[in-house]
């Protein structure tokens, strides 16, 4: 009796597994059928390494399906910090990169690790701080604001993850000859969204890209924009393909198509339209060469 029950259970489990496998099988056969009727080859795979801001803002959810449909490509989007994305490109673990740290990008391009380097779009960085604004910073001069923050030792929350935003922040500190350290300087090592949340809880200042700020503003009621608009605050995105001559497994055919897709005027219009409905303003602006 008992053994019988075990068999039933075992049988049920097996069925579950089989159904799990079976499902993919039917999908495969369905795909195979499709192949027979329409001579459409299986989509090729391409790895896009990009920054969290393009994914968290929702921009890629619009662009990637467009590209996939047009070119019969399956895009695997890996959203990481710009530093990691560039490293993936250098190692040949990705096919195409969409990032925003021009100085670091230049090194990768100059070393011959990336080719077909094209400017795509921009938005801007902003300095966000607590509503009480204890350091009393304002205006559009980010360098003066950073100096004031360091002098007053107001809590500053840094990404600390080698992302484009982090590189930008470090660039400003270096330009002012300040080595940020101490209790007031908090390094989260996390993405932009989480860092903003930490800043909101700790009532700190934080440098962020405008897209992520707009998308998250609703959860951050202790923060406000304190510095914006300066020319030092421009946030430029570039797309580039990984050099296929350095790594033999790189899918350069689709990567090239993706670069051309991103600077295509039709795509550029989509980029500029994106977010207007939800936030009343564009999150990214067209900016090709």
């Amino acid at each position: 009796m008992l053994r019988k029950r075990y068999f039933t259970v075992l049988f049920a489990l097996m069925l579950l597994v089989l159904s799990a496998c079976g499902n993919t099988d039917t999908k495969d056969t369905a795909a195979a059928k499709e192949k027979k009727t329409a001579p459409k080859p299986a989509p090729t795979e391409m790895i896009l390494a990009t920054t969290t801001s393009t994914q968290d803002s929702g921009l890629l959810d619009v662009l990637v399906p467009m590209f996939e449909k047009e070119n019969n490509v399956k895009v695997k989007t890996i959203a990481v910090g710009t530093g990691q994305a560039l490293e993936m490109g250098t190692k040949g673990e990705a096919d195409v990169l969409l990032v925003h740290a021009p100085a670091a990008e230049k090194e990768v391009v100059d070393a011959g690790n990336a080719i077909n380097y094209k400017r795509v779009m921009y938005n801007d960085f902003i300095l966000v701080g607590p509503k009480e604004n204890p350091a009393g910073v304002s205006g559009d001069d980010i360098k003066a604001a950073f100096k004031k923050l360091a002098d007053s030792k107001a809590t500053f929350v840094s990404r600390g993850d080698d992302s484009g935003t982090h590189k930008k922040e470090l660039g400003i500190w270096t330009a002012e000859n300040i080595k940020p350290a101490g209790d007031w300087y908090v390094s989260t090592g996390q993405g932009m969204g989480q860092t903003l949340q930490v800043a909101a809880e700790k009532k700190g200042y934080v440098l962020t890209d405008r897209a992520t700020w707009l998308a998250q503003e609703k959860n951050l009621d202790t923060l406000q924009i304190v510095v914006e608009g300066g020319k030092d605050l421009m946030n430029i995105y570039h797309v580039m393909q990984v050099n296929p001559e350095k790594h033999d497994k790189v899918n350069s055919k689709d990567a090239e198509k993706f670069v051309n897709f991103m600077i295509d005027s039709k795509t550029q219009d989509v980029i500029e339209e994106f977010g207007k409905k939800e936030y009343g303003q564009s999150l990214f602006f067209k900016y090709t060469e």
Binding site: L13, E45, T77, I78, M192, G193, A215
Partner: protein, 232 residues
């Protein structure tokens, strides 16, 4: 508090409205977890029984490594699998990185030691007298094994449940080796991380309830199986 109630409401909404994306993510989570734990069971159970019942040279060292494996942080497992599957890595030609298979590999790596070690512990506790008695009654080796498995049903299922708990809760490795790709490797835990970083706490909370329900359902089934009274 309000957020909590909203979350529950949203979760019920998501399930009832048949949101295709949520359904696909949940289904993938279930599939990946069940396949991982089944493979872990099929390998870990025999291995655990073997380690529990036999004595050989090097057994303790082997057990030590398996016990360390019980505490293997998923991100470490994720990192190893990632490096293994890199295009430039030893298994790069298989192009398995950022696929559900990669997630299954990482989950087996973290759950197999748990299943093995707990099974081994249970079998090691069988008293010599009982083994002798079974032998005296003339049982073949196969029969002995079946009797022992029946005797230790509770412990074996506990081992499987512990392994399952590890697998369904796992997020670090799944993020690393899966990449959280929509429609491909996005599972419930990685979606929750992503929604939190997007600031969509309501969706994250709703998904967490779906994940908990899933865990509850499976664990309840296993517990029921474990605690059922013997009739025969």
């Amino acid at each position: 508090m309000e957020l909590l109630i909203d979350g529950i409401k949203k979760a019920i909404d998501m399930i009832l409205s048949g949101d295709r994306e949520v359904f696909a993510i949940t289904w993938l989570t279930l599939k990946v977890c069940l396949i991982s734990i089944l493979i872990s069971t099929f390998i870990g159970l025999p291995l655990g029984i073997f380690l529990g019942l036999t004595r050989f040279k090097g057994r303790r060292i082997l057990l030590l490594f398996i016990n360390i494996g019980m505490g293997l942080p998923p991100v470490v497992a994720g990192l190893w699998i990632t490096m293994l599957l890199w295009r430039s890595g030893p298994l790069g030609d298989l192009t398995l990185l950022y696929s559900p298979t990669a997630i299954v590999m990482a989950q087996i790596l973290v759950s197999l030691p748990i299943v093995t070690s707990l099974t081994c512990t249970a079998f090691q506790q069988i008293s010599e007298k009982m083994l002798l008695q079974i032998k005296a009654l003339g049982a073949t080796r196969m029969q002995t094994l079946i009797i022992l498995i029946k005797q230790l049903k509770i412990a074996i299922l506990a081992a499987i449940m512990a392994g399952f708990g590890r697998v369904i809760a796992e997020v670090g490795a799944a993020m690393m080796v899966g990449g959280n790709i929509l429609g491909d490797t996005r599972i419930l835990t990685t979606t929750i991380v992503m929604e939190v970083s997007k600031g969509n706490f309501d969706i994250a909370l709703a998904l967490s309830f779906i994940l908990l329900s899933l865990a509850l359902l499976i664990t309840a089934a296993l517990t029921f199986l474990q605690q059922r009274k013997r009739i025969s």
